[in-house]
């Protein structure tokens, strides 16, 4: 009985990397994440869209650095000792693209279960609903699972 339950739990559990942006917690699908690195010097790209303001060098690849805080209308904080860059691989129009995402803090790799998923409320949100895949509950907190493809397109 117990075994059965555990098995079921595992089946709809989702591995995520929990990151903090401002006051909020976001859960990035661990399958997307390639690596997490310390901040590196950025190169500003004049004329680029605001949420991808710069590029960085990650292991010899020049990849765009996205700032989700701009997409979610959050204030941009200066880098702290806890700031990290999460490198994710996205499929944009059928092409795999590596993108760096600035996180104010990276908490841990954890599992969230589908049973904890809450419907995205229609009201009470100041973010565009299409940027959000769903909201899940994790340790009595609500975390946002963002739709990265939408956010970066």
């Amino acid at each position: 009985m117990n075994d059965g339950l555990a098995g079921e739990r595992q089946a709809d559990a989702m591995q995520v990397v929990m990151i903090g942006l401002g006051e909020e917690k976001f859960a990035l699908d661990a399958g997307l994440v390639r690596e997490i690195i310390d901040p590196v010097p950025v190169t500003k790209v004049a004329g680029a869209r605001a949420f991808v303001p710069s590029v960085i060098n990650v292991r010899g690849n020049v990849i765009p650095l996205a700032d989700l805080r701009i997409r979610f209308g959050m204030p941009q904080l200066d880098d702290t000792a806890e700031t990290r860059i999460v490198v994710i691989e996205l499929d944009l129009d059928g092409e795999p693209v590596l993108v760096g995402v600035t996180a104010d803090k990276v908490y841990e790799v954890t599992e969230i279960s589908q049973t904890d998923v809450q419907q995205t409320p229609r009201v009470g949100m100041h973010w565009k609903p299409e940027f959000i895949r769903f909201i899940a509950k994790w340790r009595e907190e609500f975390v946002i699972v963002p739709n990265m493809e939408r956010i970066l397109n």
Partner: protein
């Protein structure tokens, strides 16, 4: 290692063989007596046939077989390779290529027509002769009237385990003609000794068909390693076969005396080797058919590597070079002597590794030049302008991607040279020139560049007519003073053609502008020079590779940028006077008015500008523009990285690169930058007017 689609491997191999075949056929047109060429063509055909059958291209195998049979008469020296024959042979080659590349769109009728043509030349006395005369093995008296073959088949006992079924092979054999098959059962052991998976039967077959020996060999091609085939011609009287004449154990029977045996073995080897399916066909070294000594550059043992894997390797090496630069920087700031030594050692290794990797991407341009010989052959026949085609510098090496990009522009230039450049025979002889025109295609290294020239000895450009046309199109005012060189530049204008009539080849006015754009996209340049009555030379200047850029590193505010050095004309200091006058953004460069753009404004640079601003004068097309930067750091040679899709809307930059300290720097696309600034100014004017 990813296994490649075997059919794809065959296609690749075949396309190389086609080049060999075409080259040999074309050379044969010049030197009909060269036996080496005939043999080389024959070997290519033979390998195409063998591999074609192996990969299930049955039509290819069948057609090539007929082609080969006909060509065999040439090989035996029974007929001369005439120009007509070579043209038909080239058509046949094209048909085989179509069969391989796009089987759906080919029509059997075309193939039959080509074969009929071929036979007409090869068997002039007997138009509808039987496919071929018997190819008799050595030591066997040639039977003029062959009634068939006597075969004795003995398979190795494990043949069934490899998935081959002797009965299927016998069935195939029966398709060649009526067969009388007798199994030989004397090898069967007692029941308790019998391995159920072994094959103990042998067969004695009498094939009553006047088929070619090759046809029989083809049936057993896959299992030739694992069987003994004894083959003897069947006389009218059905007598038991004499002693085994030759064995198909591990080599093809020695061919006709004319051909040296070893090369044919080499050609047949891949077939035999791959008879047993292998898990990784890619990793197998493939013996390449040996070619004539003068083309020995292709005979060197090669390994086929996917281009993307080379790109990956280049990326890794790029990273290594960057990491090494940082190590060197670190080591030089410390005082540890041993670390310094290691850093130096790694620097040396990294730079030689980079050179080697770059070298691996380099391909001799000869592989490209070879393709044009056919073009010229066809064009000169079609236009009835005999043309001698001379190539030099075939071993000049260029990046593989560059070679691919170069093909189309060169086709345009060569077409132009034959169609417009070379005069017709009557005009030529009237002007005291040889009747045969001459087109030279040459490649030569010049510093970090490669110069590719297409030179004809035709009539040269008609400057007056180009001028008239330019005036007619309103490109210049009538009576404007222009140098000849400036006038010739109009040829690169879109839609500009001086040809009075549109021929099948050229005159539509598309071409030269496309050529110019393609070359410029490769960061190269194109130049024309002409001497009336003596011909025209088109020179293409190309960088050695697309992956590396020679650039000028500049600083604007905090940011560092790279300007492609090919666009840079000169660097000057912005005088205090220029700096003060905000209203007019013009420089006086030796009496010429040059507009300038402040990069600080374009790049939204923060911080205070440097006191002494520098101007880099760049040229894009005919426009000269100054770019004002804070500092010119120096020359920088680096690996180009393209920007991701997320930045595809930013046209100002053509890519990025990584600097010695590990930060990324953007490469300016000067043409786009200038265009952007122009449209900005126009918008400003519109809003001011409103």
């Amino acid at each position: 290692m990813s296994a490649m689609d075997p059919t794809e491997i065959f296609r690749q191999e075949a396309s190389e063989l086609f080049e060999v075949l075409e080259g040999a056929l074309l050379d044969l047109g010049q030197r009909p007596d060269d036996r080496e060429l005939v043999d080389s063509a024959f070997r290519a055909l033979h390998t195409i046939k063998g591999s074609g059958a192996m990969f299930g291209f049955d039509k290819v195998a069948a057609f090539t077989h007929e082609f080969e049979t006909a060509f065999d008469r040439v090989r035996k020296g029974e007929i001369k390779p005439t120009q007509e024959l070579i043209s038909v042979a080239l058509a046949a080659k094209d048909y085989i290529r179509a069969l391989i590349e796009d089987p759906q769109s080919t029509d059997d009728i075309i193939g039959e027509a080509i074969l009929d043509d071929l036979k007409r030349f090869v068997f002039p006395d007997q138009a509808a002769a039987p496919v071929a005369e018997m190819v008799a093995p050595p030591l066997v008296p040639v039977e003029s009237k062959q009634a068939g073959w006597h075969l004795y088949l003995e398979f190795e006992s494990h043949i069934l385990r490899n998935g081959s079924n002797p009965l299927d092979l016998l069935e195939d054999l029966c398709k060649l003609g009526p067969c009388f098959v007798v199994p030989v059962t004397d090898g069967i052991p007692f029941l308790d000794e019998m391995e159920p998976e072994d094959c103990y039967l042998k067969w004695d077959v009498k094939l009553h068909a006047a088929c070619d020996k090759d046809a029989i060999d083809d049936v057993f091609m896959f299992v030739s390693d694992e069987m003994k085939l004894t083959l003897s011609p069947l006389a009218h009287v059905e007598a038991p076969a004499p002693a085994p004449l030759f064995q198909l154990l591990d080599e093809e029977p020695a061919p006709m005396a004319a051909a040296p045996a070893p090369p044919v073995e080499a050609a047949a080897a891949p077939v035999a080797e791959q008879a047993v399916p292998k898990v990784e066909p890619k990793s197998e070294p493939k013996p390449e058919p040996k070619l004539e000594a003068k083309r020995d550059d292709r005979g060197i043992a090669t390994v086929r590597v996917q281009a993307e894997r080379l790109d990956e390797l280049m990326d890794r090496v790029g990273e290594l070079v960057i990491a090494q630069a940082r190590l060197t920087q670190l080591a030089s700031s410390g005082s540890d002597l041993s670390i310094k030594m290691i850093a130096e050692e790694i620097e040396r290794l990294a730079s030689s590794l980079r050179d080697t990797t770059m070298g691996a991407r380099m391909v001799p341009i000869g592989s490209l030049f070879g393709r044009f010989r056919r073009l010229i052959h066809d064009l000169s026949r079609g236009l009835s302008k005999p043309v001698e085609f001379v190539t030099t510098g075939e071993d000049t090496e260029l990046d593989k991607t560059m070679i691919e990009c170069l093909a189309d522009p060169l086709v345009h230039l060569i077409r132009n040279a034959i169609d417009h450049g070379i005069e017709d025979t009557a005009t030529r002889s009237a002007n005291g020139k040889t009747e045969q025109g001459r087109i030279e295609l040459a490649a030569v290294h010049s510093g970090a560049q490669v110069l590719v020239t297409v030179k004809d000895n035709g009539g040269g450009l008609n400057t007056a007519r180009i001028r008239a046309k330019a005036e007619e199109q309103g490109l210049i005012a009538a009576g404007a003073v222009l140098t000849d060189h400036e006038i010739h530049q109009f040829l690169f204008h879109p839609g500009f053609s001086t040809a009075q009539t549109i021929s099948a080849l050229s005159g539509r006015g598309v071409g030269m502008d496309v050529v110019k754009r393609t070359i410029e996209n490769m960061r190269g340049s194109i130049d024309l020079s002409t001497r009336p009555g003596q011909g025209t030379t088109v020179t293409l200047r190309l960088p050695l590779t697309l992956a590396i850029i020679e650039g000028l590193l500049i600083r604007v505010g905090e940011g560092r940028y790279i300007i492609p050095l090919s666009a840079v004309e000169e660097c000057i200091e912005l005088t205090a006077e220029d700096e003060r006058s905000r209203g007019r953004n013009f420089l006086n460069v030796r009496g010429n008015l040059v507009p300038f753009l402040r990069l600080r404004e374009i790049m939204n640079a923060s911080g205070a500008p440097d006191r002494h601003q520098k101007t880099i004068i760049i040229s894009t097309g005919d426009t000269h523009v100054g770019l004002v930067a804070d500092q010119i750091i120096g020359n920088h040679q680096t690996v180009i990285k393209s920007l991701s899709k997320l930045h595809s809307d930013v046209t100002m930059f053509s890519g990025a690169t990584i600097l010695g300290d590990g930060t990324a720097a953007l490469i300016l696309d000067v043409a786009q930058l200038v265009a952007l600034a122009q449209s900005k100014v126009e918008k400003q004017h519109i809003s001011e007017a409103a």
